[in-house]
């Protein structure tokens, strides 16, 4: 069973003339893999992540998440797929300013219908896993950028999804902090987490076990080390 399988995915953005963001992309991610997707700006990296994350539907082709096709699913059913199988990490962290670290992480389980006390228990483990146990009661505005991104990563892994989708997670961080976040992703990968990382940082991409290079919406290279 694949964690993610894109088959012949094409994505056109509505505009005049239409923008072809992805052209016949096929990509399979096995459970336990750590894949970096790189490419210049406008190469379709973010669109690839949005389509893989079922945030957008492809114009053509199919997307399978955790071995199941998403083609015939309704919008509500796609929400269910994201809720159960996917975890997202974004460049801007997207933490809720009024909630503590622990609550922000626990919110990762909100739409699974998990009872509040159970959510907080899982959140405590996830916060410890990213090394922020001492910061659990703090609010996002009391944290550094690197710590905020750790919280966001904890929120993504708290439900142990089949696949983590990380969109430029180091984009807002200085190089030292970015390297720390990358190291954290590495550690999670070694613990068995499947990660698809979109980045324009080629240096980081070279240190992942597999890197895919996009250019003009097509896969130019797909290397395993």
């Amino acid at each position: 069973m694949n964690a993610l399988a894109l088959r012949g995915v094409t994505k056109e953005h509505a505009a005049t003339p239409p923008v072809l963001a992805l052209a016949d992309v096929s990509l399979t991610v096995e459970p336990g893999e750590f894949v970096a997707v790189t490419g210049p700006s406008g190469s379709g990296k973010s669109t690839l992540l949005a389509v893989a994350g079922t945030l957008e539907r492809p114009s053509a082709g199919t997307v399978e998440v955790a071995g199941k096709s998403t083609e015939d699913l309704s919008d509500a059913e796609l929400s269910g797929v994201r809720c159960r199988e996917l975890g997202f990490v974004f460049q801007q962290f997207h933490l809720l300013a009024t909630r503590s670290v622990l609550q922000n992480v626990a919110d990762g389980l909100l739409y699974r219908g998990v009872p509040p006390t159970e959510r907080l228990e899982h959140a405590a483990h996830a916060v410890a896993a990213v090394g922020l146990a001492h910061r659990r009661t703090h609010r996002p505005d009391e944290l550094s950028g690197g710590e905020c991104q750790r919280v966001a990563i904890a929120r993504a892994i708290v439900g142990e999804p089949a696949l983590i989708l990380a969109d430029e997670p180091t984009g807002n961080l200085d190089s030292v902090t970015g390297a720390e976040i990358f190291a954290l992703l590495h550690r999670l990968h070694e613990g068995g987490t499947t990660i698809l990382l979109v980045t324009h940082n080629d240096e980081l991409a070279r240190r992942t076990p597999r890197s895919v290079v996009l250019r003009d919406g097509r896969i130019e290279r797909d290397e395993r080390r």
Binding site: S46, A50, G53, L55, E56, K68, D75, A76, E77, S79, G80, V81, R82, C83, R84, L86, F88, F90, Q92, H94, L96, A97, T98, R99, D107, G108, L110, Y111, R112, G113, P115, P116, R155
Partner: protein, 395 residues
């Protein structure tokens, strides 16, 4: 079928409060519009209910069976009733008591040095001894005229007349200059709700009017108490009885009708103020809708994140609708409290018993909730229709 995403019922409330806690000042300000509307509604309904209860209690206490007979002001006839009118009215079966007054063409002054133009509008009246019981009047001080003092230079002042003359005691030691002689003040009346014309009067006995002031004193007003079950029948025969030759010159009135009209008049104002309250509430609802639309624009990132974490459209919609409803509910409850408080203060200042209709409280809060929910529909719909990818990109 794969297990979809869902939100526990217990999580809906905290979700609705989340946005309000993030921006407490904005939340308070936008709830203020609704609060003002609800406070207006509750205060108007409460004050008019209290005032009506007060008037009805007053009417009940004073009785609705007092009738006044006076010369008609419109027919251009005489300014007095026939001299025999009081006696004939007393002979009507269901009349339980009656008392005549006669306006005397003399003036009253504090002393003889006051210029004669300064009469202050006080009417000097001669009155029967039964006047006080007929009009349900009460003495503020001293006593009313009796068979003895009615023949003597003694005067009872109406409440406003006493104030105008600067007389505040009625122990017989204070005298006023009435018809060019000294009259001792023996009594001061409380205000008389059913015969307010007595408040600015100085009342002497008929014998004193004849013998000391040398006035004819034909009756100008007869106060009649009728059996409560026969008020209509007595009303219909009073004019013809008072002046059989020219009944059209006689006007018959029921003073409690005036009080009842006041109660009705307050409902006329009530609808005006209620419309103002409703408009304030509407504006408050639009304010909430406005703030929610801004909130949806500002929180696109949060909406995108929630969609990415598995929230369905309906979850997003319910969160924002719940936020709008919570806002208006807070405003509604605060407004109801302030409105009720206004009623209590107003009623206690007027020495009324406070009446705040519970239906008005519950209704006003309910209307506020409905206004907020309707105002939140459009923002909630917009939030739920946001595409997750676009919502995340836009930040």
């Amino acid at each position: 079928m794969r297990v979809g995403s869902r939100v526990r019922a217990a999580d809906v409330g905290p979700l609705a409060l989340l946005g309000l806690r993030g921006r407490p000042v904005r939340a308070a300000l936008s709830a203020t519009g609704v609060a003002i509307g609800v406070a207006t509604l509750v205060a108007v309904l409460g004050i008019s209910a209290s005032s009506q209860a007060q008037l009805i209690a007053q009417i009940d206490a004073l009785g609705t069976n007092l009738l006044t007979v006076s010369p008609s002001a419109f027919t251009g006839g005489t300014t007095s009733l026939p001299p025999g009118a009081p006696a004939m009215i007393a002979r009507i079966g269901p009349v339980t008591s009656d008392a005549a007054t006669a306006d005397l063409e003399v003036q009253v002054y504090r002393n003889q040095r006051i210029p004669s133009v300064n009469s202050q509008g006080i009417t000097v009246k001669a009155a029967d001894l039964g006047l006080l019981s007929a009009v349900e009047g009460h003495l503020w001080s001293g006593r009313f005229l009796n068979a003895a003092t009615a023949q003597m230079p003694a005067v009872v002042l109406g409440h406003d007349a006493a104030a105008a003359l600067g007389v505040d005691k009625a122990d017989g030691e204070v005298s006023v200059w009435l018809g060019n002689q000294w009259f001792d003040v023996v009594g001061i009346l409380e205000p008389v709700p059913l015969a307010p014309e007595l408040d600015l009067s100085a009342i002497v006995g008929f014998p004193a009017a004849h013998q000391l002031l040398h006035r004819e004193a034909p009756p100008t007003e007869v106060y009649v108490r009728a059996d409560p079950t026969s008020v209509a029948a007595v009303t219909s025969v009073l004019a013809a009885t008072a002046d059989p030759s020219a009944p059209q010159n006689v006007s018959v009135a029921n003073p409690s009708d005036a009080l009842a009209a006041r109660a009705d008049a307050s409902t006329a104002f009530q609808s005006l103020f209620l419309s103002l309250g409703a408009i304030a509430l509407l504006v408050g609802g639009i304010g909430i809708a406005n703030v929610m639309v801004i909130g949806v624009l500002e929180r696109r990132g949060e909406i995108g994140l929630r969609r990415a974490m598995g929230a369905r459209r309906v979850h997003i919609g319910v969160q924002f609708l719940g936020e709008a409803a919570t806002l208006s509910l807070l405003g509604g409850v605060a407004g109801a409290v302030f409105g009720a408080l206004a009623v209590v203060i107003y009623a206690s200042l007027r020495h009324w018993s406070t009446t705040v209709p519970l239906a008005a409280l519950a209704g006003a809060v309910g209307v506020a909730l409905a206004v907020g929910a309707v105002g939140g529909l459009y923002p909630a719909w917009r939030a739920s229709r946001l595409s997750p990818a676009e919502a995340l990109r836009s930040v």
